[in-house]
């Protein structure tokens, strides 16, 4: 009895989480443009999607921005973490507080203030401003996931490496970095998803003719969102799902590989 209740509870949660996505995926195969009518099974929206240059360009922009901004944010955030370990306690907590504020801050405030900043500095809006903004709001997430890892680090290992004649940089990459890697990776992934997800900040800081997926979808509001977007969202969902399944199938092996890979790289 108790077991059955448990199962029903889980089933309900899964249902509520995935029913909307399921609906969207079903509609992406609907031959009719309206959700109110089932016009038969069709792949026409998938075909139309790959012929629609604007959507593809928006998709490309989204991916490039997410990748580049999270890469930059990861490097900057990691360096900031390393710097913070060398700081006095008070300075450190002040700095941590400062990096936390943008995360708690409403996106719209960040977006508007970045826009005003760019205007007052006379920076031309375009790809560059979106990238700068995304790097800015991604950094705290990287710090958030690297910092705990940093605290667990044993400082003696780094000193031991120095004592054994290694240069500091070498010691860092061979001793400290591999231990930080899981934190850095999760920080990178976090930043990547945050950037993919973002609409509001991009909306305020984007330049003319540069669209990401989210801003592109939003402009379609007046005329109604086209089913091509359903098709694209379904594809993205399926790709992410398969990636997740693949990663989760062999978690141990992956982590080991990454650790040793990190050490071997610098040889």
């Amino acid at each position: 009895m108790k077991n059955a209740a448990k199962k029903i509870y889980i089933a309900l949660i899964v249902l509520f989480l995935y029913a909307p996505i399921g609906t969207l995926m079903v509609l992406s195969f609907n031959a009719s443009k309206t959700r109110a009518k089932w016009g038969g099974f069709s792949l026409q929206w998938y075909i139309a999607l790959f012929q629609n240059e604007e959507i593809l360009r928006a998709l490309f922009n989204t991916l490039v921005i997410a990748l580049v901004s999270s890469l930059f944010a990861t490097v900057i955030g990691t360096i900031a973490c390393i710097a913070m370990t060398g700081m006095k306690r008070q300075a450190k907590s002040i700095l941590m507080g400062i990096t936390n504020i943008p995360m708690l801050n409403a996106d719209i405030v960040t977006g508007v203030s970045l826009m005003l900043l760019y205007i007052s500095l006379g920076i031309r809006f375009g790809m560059g401003t979106i990238l700068l903004s995304h790097i800015t709001f991604n950094i705290p997430y990287v710090i958030l996931s690297v910092m705990p890892r940093m605290k667990q680090l044993n400082p003696s290992t780094f000193e031991a490496a120095l004592d054994l004649g290694s240069s500091p940089l070498n010691a860092f990459f061979k001793v400290v970095f591999p231990d930080l890697l899981p934190g850095i990776l999760s920080g990178f992934l976090m930043a990547f998803t945050m950037s993919l997800d973002d609409f509001i900040i991009t909306h305020f800081t984007k330049g003319v003719g540069v669209d990401t997926l989210s801003t592109k979808i939003y402009t379609e509001i007046k005329k109604g969102i086209k089913p091509e977007m359903y098709a694209l969202s379904s594809l993205i969902f399926v790709i992410v799902l398969t990636l997740l399944i693949l990663i989760n199938l062999s978690p141990d092996k992956k982590e080991k590989e990454l650790r040793y890979g990190g050490k071997n790289e610098k040889k």
Partner: protein
């Protein structure tokens, strides 16, 4: 540790360099065409992309095309000057606001033969509501707001706004979820102007809307299309541009312009005051007024075109003579266009609308 710091300094330096490189790339990417460029700010999905390509090919002018989703989100972007747009395509009341604030530049019709010839006289007349001397705006799309009803779900034909207050249609009515459109319905029912600022008239409209609220199934924006097609409601307030499409999907639907009069909306091209490429902007708008181009856009957008020459080219007689797409405006009385009400007027309307919604 000191050595350590130095190498980090190097890394930071390298980062800074690559940063600037990235931002420079961003700036350089907007290359110009042989004959310069033109920056256009239009509604999303409001142009056939093919026409832009044709314009670029024929003139050698590069089009930088940007889209907005509401008049209200367009305005601050243009006003902030973050991007120097050449052309925008706002709606009637927003144009009057932009005129009032000196944001538009006057149109030189001598440079735009197509705009002068092809756009119907009656549409210029209608534009006078927000642009008194037709100095600033060239109509691009227009339509009416009316009632869409499902003839299998009502007892008698719907012809008046008044019937939206009929108790037998309780829970079967869809209203527009926007201040001006909702108040327009109530004001027109009372025989008042939809641009009124008279407090007694406004209070009467507000009370009517409150009275109607229990009968309304939902206040909707674009969901009205799908709900009406699916037969989820009997009567809905809808824009005429959507009506033809919904009828195609569900032949039981009928669109009427209510007898008490309604809103004629017009989206029009304007050239902004500080347009850096004014000549190209004129060329672009004039190109869009060319009959064949306007026809392509009409086919793509499906909203009524004010372009008389383009209408002549429509092959499908049923659309060419459609009462929905091209109603004979002289038949109706009390047709009006929204006008900007000023900041105080806007906040008054919003205040009253809040009272309705919160009731």
């Amino acid at each position: 540790m000191r050595k350590n710091k130095k190498s980090f300094g190097k890394i930071t330096f390298a980062l800074a360099v690559s940063f600037t490189a990235v931002s420079l790339c961003g700036c350089a990417s907007s290359d110009k065409g042989v004959n310069g460029q033109v920056i256009v700010y239009n509604w999303g999905e409001y142009i056939d992309p093919e026409t832009i390509r044709m314009f670029e090919e024929e003139t050698g002018i590069k089009v930088i095309y940007d889209e907005f989703e509401t008049n209200e989100s367009m305005y601050p972007k243009v006003e902030s000057g973050a991007v120097a747009y050449d052309i925008a395509c706002p709606s009637d009341y927003m144009i009057s606001r932009m005129i009032e604030n000196g944001m538009l530049s006057e149109i030189n019709y001598n440079n735009m033969p197509n705009a002068k010839e092809n756009i119907g006289e009656q549409y210029y007349e209608q534009s006078c509501g927000f642009d008194p001397e037709n100095k600033y705006a060239i109509p691009y799309c227009w339509g009416t707001v009316g009632i869409l009803y499902n003839k299998t779900m009502v007892d008698e034909p719907i012809t008046r706004w008044e019937q939206l207050w009929d108790k037998k249609y309780a829970d079967n009515i869809l209203m527009q979820d926007s201040v001006r459109d909702a108040f327009m319905v109530a004001e027109k029912r009372n025989g008042d102007s939809m641009n009124t600022l008279d407090l007694t008239e406004l209070t009467a409209a507000k009370n009517l809307l409150i009275e109607q609220k229990p009968l309304v199934q939902a206040y909707v924006v674009d969901q009205v299309r799908d709900k009406m097609i699916g037969g989820e409601a009997a009567i809905g307030v809808i824009y005429s541009g959507e009506a033809i499409y919904t009828q195609k999907e569900n032949p039981d639907l009928v669109y009427v312009i209510p007898e008490e009069g309604t809103n004629i909306w017009i989206d029009a091209w304007v050239i902004l005051k500080n347009a850096p490429n004014k000549e190209n902007a004129e060329k672009f708008i004039d190109f869009m007024c060319r009959a064949d181009i306007a026809l392509m856009n009409f086919d793509y957008i499906t909203y009524s075109t004010p372009n008389v020459a383009a209408r002549e080219l429509i092959e499908d007689e049923s659309i060419k003579n459609s009462e929905i797409a091209f109603p004979d405006l002289s038949q109706y009385e009390n047709l009006e266009t929204y006008v900007y009400l000023g900041e105080d007027g806007d906040s008054l309307y919003n205040e009253l609308w809040k009272e309705v919604k919160a009731h």
